[in-house]
Chain length 148, copies 2
């Protein structure tokens, strides 16, 4: 994936600009492959992330605010995202009795099962995305990512 080739430009770019555009190209490629991987399961990347967060709760419920804070990609309307997961039977929603402003969201057994099969596909996808890297390169890449 060479930036200049893709942009069909031959002029030298500022390193900062080149990096930003390069990052956009890489993240776009990532989004495409992730969506494609999840498409057979009929969930979006955000829905998948919500399911992962809920599983991480280990039985403890999560409310909408917590979900929003933990989501990899912030989005403005978690209510409707949860609605979709409820329609699929992957999560359930109850109002919190201690504080009735809050709601409690749980992953269902059906949701956990579905998530397990998504995981297998996603792990494969993750491996494929980083297939050209050595382990040392990946470690260093993660160190560099922390600088953003």
């Amino acid at each position: 994936m060479n930036v200049e080739e893709i942009l069909k430009t031959n002029k030298k770019m500022e390193l900062s600009k080149r990096t930003v555009i390069h990052l956009m190209l890489v993240s776009n490629k990532l989004n495409e492959s992730t969506s494609t991987t999840l498409k057979p399961f009929d969930v979006s990347v955000q829905q998948f992330n919500v399911l992962r967060i809920l599983r991480g709760q280990k039985g403890k419920p999560a409310n909408l605010k917590t979900l929003n804070e933990r989501m990899v990609t912030k989005m403005s309307n978690t209510t409707r995202l949860v609605d979709k997961l409820i329609l699929k039977g992957y999560v359930k929603r109850e109002t919190c009795e201690a504080n009735r402003r809050k709601i409690e969201i749980y992953i269902t057994t059906k949701g956990e099962k579905a998530l397990s099969s998504m995981d297998i596909a996603m792990n494969k996808n993750d491996e494929q995305i980083v297939q050209n890297f050595t382990e040392e390169e990946l470690e260093y890449l993660n160190v560099l990512f922390d600088k953003f």
Copy 2:
């Protein structure tokens, strides 16, 4: 930006998965700052990219197909994106007389002026995004990006 801290997890992740999630977090941060930077100019990131491509044509028109191929973030409906830019007076559209299936899209003088001021803001934004990197780190980061 530490992955485990953000995801509030303490268990060790596969390096491939950690990298993919880390990349999502970084690209999300990038998207946010880019949108914020362009917001005062009332253009989206895609609209900005189209304007940059058209300027790069140096007077030569671009058709929709070319635009779509060169766009950093692919999108499915370039027609309506160009519509918006026409409404703002930043580009003009004519049907190609040699091949009337094609359209020819040009950036206008008004569009070039607007783009110039966006550039200044975006350059500043780019610098800020990579402010914690040394030049060597950035060079290497770009090399690593090519492996995706």
